[in-house]
Amino acid sequence: MHYRRSMIVGVAAAAALTLSACAPQAPEESGGGSAEAGDATLTIATTTDVVNYNPLIGNSRSDYWITNLMYPHLLSIANDGSKEPQLAEEWGYVDETTGYYEIRDDMTWSDGEKLDAEDVAYTMNAVKKDAPSGTFYGQLANFESAEAVSDTRVEITLTQPDSSIVEEIGFWGNVVPQHVFEPAGSTAEFANDGSDGGWVSAGPYLLTDVQVGQSYTMERVEDYPLVEGGTPIAAKVVYRVFPDVNTEILALQSGEVDVIANALPPAQVEQLRNTDGIEIAEVTGLGYAHMVYNMQNPDLAKVEVRKALAHAADYQAIRDVVLQGQADSTGSSPLMPVLSTYYDDSIEEYEFDTDLSRSLMEDAGYTADAAGMFPVSFRLIYSLQDSVTSQWAQLVKESSAEAGITIELQGTERNTYLAMTNEGDYDIYAGNFAIMDDPVTNFTLSYLPGGAINYTYVDDPELNALIEEASAASDVDEKVEIMQEAAAIVHEQVYDNIMYTQNLYMAYSSDWDGFVSKPSELLSIVNPVSVASAFPVSE
């Protein structure tokens, strides 16, 4: 049974990606360690097998975790969503429709080939041409082509001004070796399963042995300049596959594994924090959980009904009980507090007030029957693999019933849920996104007509104009102002009901230290720099 905390949905969000980091912030400083390359093995627990070894396609969590240790990203991300250097040392715009990256000159592939600007340009052009399903391609809407103008400089040409695209491509896209991927044909179809002589990695680790359903063994790439000292500390990293988070916790307690890659269920955090031999690392959430009302439903097309629903959920109780206080309110705004530049604290959370909901329903022209129920019924979909959402969906159903609104829960297996989501087969959608790092991109995908995650089916001319304006704006202050205006519309019209940003907790053995925490479950403490920096604590 797969345990997944955040659902990643749709193109952008399916997004959940990866990357590796720089500018480490160790979650914990403790003494007595050997932070030098040794012969230790770091064992990491996961709940899913690798489905795709091609990082340009991406599917399960394990795909991201393992391919990220082999194929670098141009940029990394900080806890506030801002981008940091990784493979690229500098990036920006030459003019409105031309962006650039200056990359490091000291990275090499594990077969000895130099990692240069040609690899970067090849990857971007190939993804644009072959359109592999995944977030990377989703970010390339305004991308025309990339060119390696020198060994260390790549320039990209845009079809129209887009002030987010350089950072978004840099963050979401991996770089793959041209000399391996080009001969294999289309990047959308290349399995990259190592069947023709193994993998080629830019570090910090190289996959060497796969036992499907059991383990994935990776060996150190000796030269990895992104980690202090230039060499990853653990000689081997082994990802072991477990049936669910319960067995992962048991394995950690018995010392079978050193790290659990999946985020802990909220109710387990305190318990494990008090367990000897186990350390807990906090990972900043950079995404949100939300409910979306499908405006194709004639009842939900009325703003009063959407407002009535928004006021019929007790968000504070959900955060306190289901999430055990491990979540922050976003003020029901898509501009989360964690994105401090954009956050607007004048937008306040929808208050839990079932009387208000009732009067809103009456304003919308509905009359409650003798039992106090309005003649509407909405079908709320969620994924059964997402235990947090499954739990709060129950609470939303119960509190809505108090407001006289019937909600019918339809929890389904994840793939069915994703299919229903794509077809718009729901009245209310409940789910979450792991990383919503760039507001302009997120608004484009979420609220423009035809957007990949426009689950509301909203088409509001005023909002559309603001998003397009923000997309072209190059001045940050101007952009922030426009986005706050747009967020106010989303909040006022309830085009989206953002409930919280969840902070995640990861468990690892106290025999190890030196992990570097990055936002989201995808990066957390298993991002490449963190894995390469972890060292065994000597007794």
């Binding site: 049974m1 345990y3 669910d244 988070v245 319960n246 916790i249 048991l250 307690q253 802990l264 269920p265 109710a267 387990q268 318990q271 109780a317 306190d320 009980v321 289901v322 055990q324 059964l384 693999q385 235990s387 499954s390 739990q391 129950q394 609470l395 159903k397 119960e398 829960l409 339809q410 929890g411 389904t412 297996e413 069915t416």
Partner: protein, 300 residues
């Protein structure tokens, strides 16, 4: 157990000798059954479970909403502890009994009704028997659990889905058991005699064949019911149960989903004990009944 058919009104109202014999036999069976402590205890447990399911609203408030005391071990306030949303596990088990008993009763009723009809018709109409045997063998050879999972996943989780899915895969067992008995019965002289009396085959089957196979049906009711509970709990544990109704399987499923299985033993112990109690007592009851029905035990 006789199916009331309109024709039965035409029959002489004085009891037939076979009916008197049946009454005597059932009394003897009951007397023998009462002497078996395991059987009586099992019966007591089953009756208690049915009572709990009927009296659920009196025994515990419906576990809904949330509580602030999350994952607390059993205490005076919550005798079975609380779950990951702070709900009372005792209440969940009590209300879960209702759903489990409902599934057991409904699924086995459907399976028994359908299975018996198919079996008796097969035995009575030799031309259909070959076909029915093939269908039964085919269905019995299918990998049941994966198919149940597939169907439950495709149709979507709900109590009625669970009942239908479990029933759909339980009837062949009943058919096979009943058919073997019915085949012997239809060749007996009194059935031939009945054929001379009437051409109404439905009456013959209802009045003479079904009563003769009733003891076998009673045993399979109990066995099918307990199997239905196990299957339903299994499906619910895999997340294919009705997520809006409490069942024993759902308690286990939610414990697993919230990652609390490792630390909160009370979440798994109590629903498991309930499942064990029902399945074990159903099995022991059917064994005891079978023994009691054996005339050799009546003499003692």
């Amino acid at each position: 157990m006789t199916t009331p058919l309109p024709e039965s009104a035409l029959v002489d109202s004085t009891p037939e000798p076979s009916a008197i014999g049946a009454t005597r036999a059932s009394r003897a069976t009951w007397r023998a059954f009462r002497r078996m402590p395991l059987g009586m205890i099992s019966l007591g447990i089953l009756v208690a479970l049915v009572l709990v399911s009927v009296l659920a609203p009196v025994l515990a408030p419906y576990p809904a909403g949330y509580g602030m005391d999350v994952l607390r071990p059993p205490s005076a306030a919550h005798v079975f502890g609380t779950d990951a949303l702070g709900r009372d596990v005792y209440g969940e088990v009590v209300w879960g009994t209702q759903q489990s008993v409902l599934v057991a009763v409904a699924a086995s009723a459907i399976a028994i009704a359908f299975g018996t009809v198919v079996a008796v018709v097969g035995a009575y109409v030799p031309k259909l028997d070959a076909l029915i045997s093939v269908v039964v063998d085919l269905t019995l050879s299918l990998p049941v659990l994966p198919l149940m999972i597939l169907i439950a996943a495709l149709v979507g989780p709900s109590t009625s889905t669970i009942i239908l899915v479990v029933a759909a895969f339980s009837w062949p067992e009943v058919t096979r058991l009943v058919r073997s008995q019915a085949l012997a019965v239809v060749k007996l002289p009194y059935v031939d005699a009945a054929r001379l009396m009437t051409r109404n085959h439905a009456w013959i089957v209802g009045r003479h064949v079904v009563p003769a196979v009733t003891p076998v049906i009673v045993v399979s009711v109990v066995v099918t019911a307990s199997r239905a509970v196990l299957s339903a709990a299994g499906l619910a544990f895999l997340g294919l149960g009705d997520p809006t109704t409490w069942s024993w399987g759902r308690i286990l499923y939610e414990a697993q989903q919230s990652g609390a299985m490792v630390s909160a033993w009370w979440l798994t112990l109590f629903p498991s004990l309930a499942i064990l109690a029902l399945v074990l007592s159903a099995t022991l009851l059917s064994i005891a009944y079978n023994d009691a029905r054996n005339p050799r035990n009546h003499a003692r």
